[in-house]
């Protein structure tokens, strides 16, 4: 696992992060391949959330290197990571309830028309683009002019993912995307993630759900007690093996 293969969208080596005396993880190597869904699993406190936060610029690792898209990871904040092309689907979704679907999809990267020194929103273009973005991922919402407040949890998750993908991100990071959803909605979001894979979007997926991980991902990385315990191809593993790897029984 030493040399990051050239088809890695993101790769890290020797990564460590401590909070005061508390060790989140040490000497972790990890990589995600271009166009694949890469899952990170592990028990609570295994360090997977902190690892992900280091990748998206929320935390700065104490040691180790991160190479994103062939270049040394330069981000010390989430904004820098976003500009470089890493979009995060936040667990709280970061949607604005009172704004419409279209407004949320274009929040903080609104399309404008310039008239002299003034820039006015190009609402027609944004609505058109929003429809295109949603239909590309086969996401159904009642209307793009609907306030997000009135959407279901699954629809909100879909909008949030659509926004991340639609921004032209090179890598989309999802933290427990179905944690708060019911059965039907989980199935819908899983179908959406599968469509992303079909369209060769690079995704990092953090999940507790081993079955889901095996259904959705290409490569699975297992963290245990602050270490990267193992990595397996999803097609070559079983649920029992994953449980064993996560708990350390293997």
């Amino acid at each position: 696992m030493s040399a990051a293969s050239s088809d890695a969208i993101i790769a890290c080596e020797g990564l460590s992060k401590h909070f005061g005396g508390v060790r989140a993880f040490t000497d972790v190597a990890f990589q995600a391949r271009r166009g694949e869904v890469t899952a990170v699993i592990g028990d609570n406190g295994a360090g997977k959330s902190t690892l992900i936060r280091c990748l998206v610029g929320v935390h700065v690792p104490d040691a180790g290197s991160i190479v994103f898209d062939g270049r040394q990871h330069p981000f010390s904040n989430p904004d820098g990571a976003r500009k470089a092309g890493i979009e995060t689907v936040h667990q709280n979704l970061a949607l604005i309830d009172e704004l419409t679907v279209a407004q949320n999809l274009f929040l903080n990267r609104e399309l404008v028309r310039r008239i002299g020194p003034f820039a006015f929103l190009d609402r027609k273009a944004m609505r058109r683009e929003a429809r295109a973005m949603l239909s590309r991922l086969s996401i159904n919402v009642p209307s793009i002019n609907q306030r997000v407040r009135r959407l279901s949890g699954g629809q909100r998750q879909a909008i949030s993912i659509c926004r991340a993908v639609g921004s032209g991100a090179k890598l989309v990071v999802m933290d427990e995307p179905t944690a708060a959803l019911g059965v039907q909605e989980t199935a819908n979001v899983e179908a959406l993630i599968r469509r992303l894979r079909d369209q060769s979007v690079s995704v990092i997926l953090v999940s507790h759900n081993f079955d889901q991980v095996r259904r959705l991902s290409d490569q699975i990385w297992v963290m245990r007690a602050g270490k990267m315990a193992a990595t397996v191809r999803a097609s070559e593993t079983t649920g029992n093996e994953l449980v064993a790897l996560v708990t350390g029984a293997a």
Binding site: P78, D79, R82, H90, N92, L93, A94, L95, I96, D97, E98, L99, Q103, L107, N108, E110, V112, F118, A119, F120, L121, R123, I139, N140, V141, P142, S143, N145, Q146, R150, S152, G154, Q155, A158, Q184, E185, N188
Partner: protein, 329 residues
């Protein structure tokens, strides 16, 4: 996503609901409370006192509403960020005093007006800065500046009113263009500019996002502190415009706060359907709310109702409006 309720409401969204269904929907009344209230008042007062509907009275009504309309717009920007500007009326007073003193010191009226606008905008900027940098609730900060500005106004003016004899202001107050007096045109211009800013600029969307969910807006890279400071600065600027209109109207700068201006600015915002929790706003709503409150006072005066009853009526209407708002979807 592909479920039945969503498909159902999709149908409702595309085809307009029938008028009867609309009238039975409490949310319709909540969204249009100010215009329904205004029409209701016009009908009631028009029947009770036909003079109310005379052109002269309607023109006077609009003239009297101009200042409140401008202030309500300022208050709307702040309330949209889930804040509240309690120092608004005090800023009007300070702006008026600065206008009066600068003019009395022999400077031109134009410079006096610009300085008044700068001073009130600075007050708004300061409000926003303290709220965001100090992470102090809006209510507390603006309550503090309300008191501070009042004191500053008294110190600067020595507690004495300053006469402002300016032909420019006289013409502003009494002149008219077409059917409306100049102050009405100022208010109309303010409504248009504010409406465009709220609905047709990135700033407007970011303002509503900041008021709606500040953490989410921040997570998407919106500089929410800057947005808040901008909202308060706009509020201060509106107070400056109101100060100029006020001095033009009464011909002097008085070192006393018109508390009803502050309360009515908040009341107009509530009547206009703007959520006090932020994230949801319009400009037309509060402007019509301001018209409605002015019409209420005007009508009651024409009906010879004692001025003592007017605050009671305003209070009742505002609470009633807030009750209706609960049905807003």
């Amino acid at each position: 996503m592909n479920n039945a309720p969503a498909a159902h409401s999709a149908g409702a969204e595309e085809s307009r609901p029938s008028l009867a269904a609309l009238l039975l929907d409490p949310s319709f009344w909540a969204d249009w409370a100010s215009i329904v209230g205004l029409v209701g008042l016009v009908i009631v007062f028009g029947i009770a006192q036909p003079v109310f509907l005379s052109v002269a009275n309607l023109q006077a009504l609009l003239l009297a509403a101009a200042i409140l309309v401008v202030l309500s717009i300022g208050q709307t920007f702040v309330v949209a960020t889930s804040g509240i500007d309690l120092s608004l009326a005090a800023a009007v007073m300070l702006g008026a005093i600065i206008l009066g003193l600068v003019n009395a010191a022999g400077h031109g009226i134009f410079i006096a007006c610009v300085l008044a606008l700068l001073a009130t905008s600075a007050i708004g900027f300061l409000n926003g800065l303290i709220i965001t940098a100090g992470k102090i609730p809006d209510f507390v900060v603006t309550l503090g500046t309300l008191s501070g500005i009042t004191g500053l106004g008294l110190i600067l003016s020595g507690g004495e009113p300053t006469m402002v004899g300016s032909t420019f202001l006289l013409r502003l107050a009494s002149g008219s263009f077409g059917p409306f007096g100049y102050p009405v045109w100022v208010a109309i211009a303010a409504v248009i500019v504010a409406h465009v800013a709220l609905y047709h600029t990135r700033f407007g969307v970011h303002l509503l996002a900041t008021g709606g969910q500040v953490e989410s807006a921040g997570a998407l890279g919106i500089r929410t502190n800057r947005v808040k400071i901008a909202a308060y600065t706009i509020s201060g600027f509106c107070a400056g415009i109101a100060a100029i209109l006020l001095v033009a109207r009464i011909g002097s700068a008085e070192p006393q706060i018109n508390t009803s201006l502050l309360l009515n600015s908040v009341a107009a915002v509530v009547l206009g359907g703007v959520s006090l929790f932020g994230g949801r706003a319009s400009i037309l709503g509060p402007a019509i709310g301001a018209l409605m409150l002015t019409a209420l006072v005007n009508g009651l005066t024409l009906l010879n109702v004692s001025a003592f009853y007017q605050p009671l009526a305003v209070g009742a209407i505002v609470v009633l409006a807030a009750l209706i708002m609960r049905y807003q979807k």
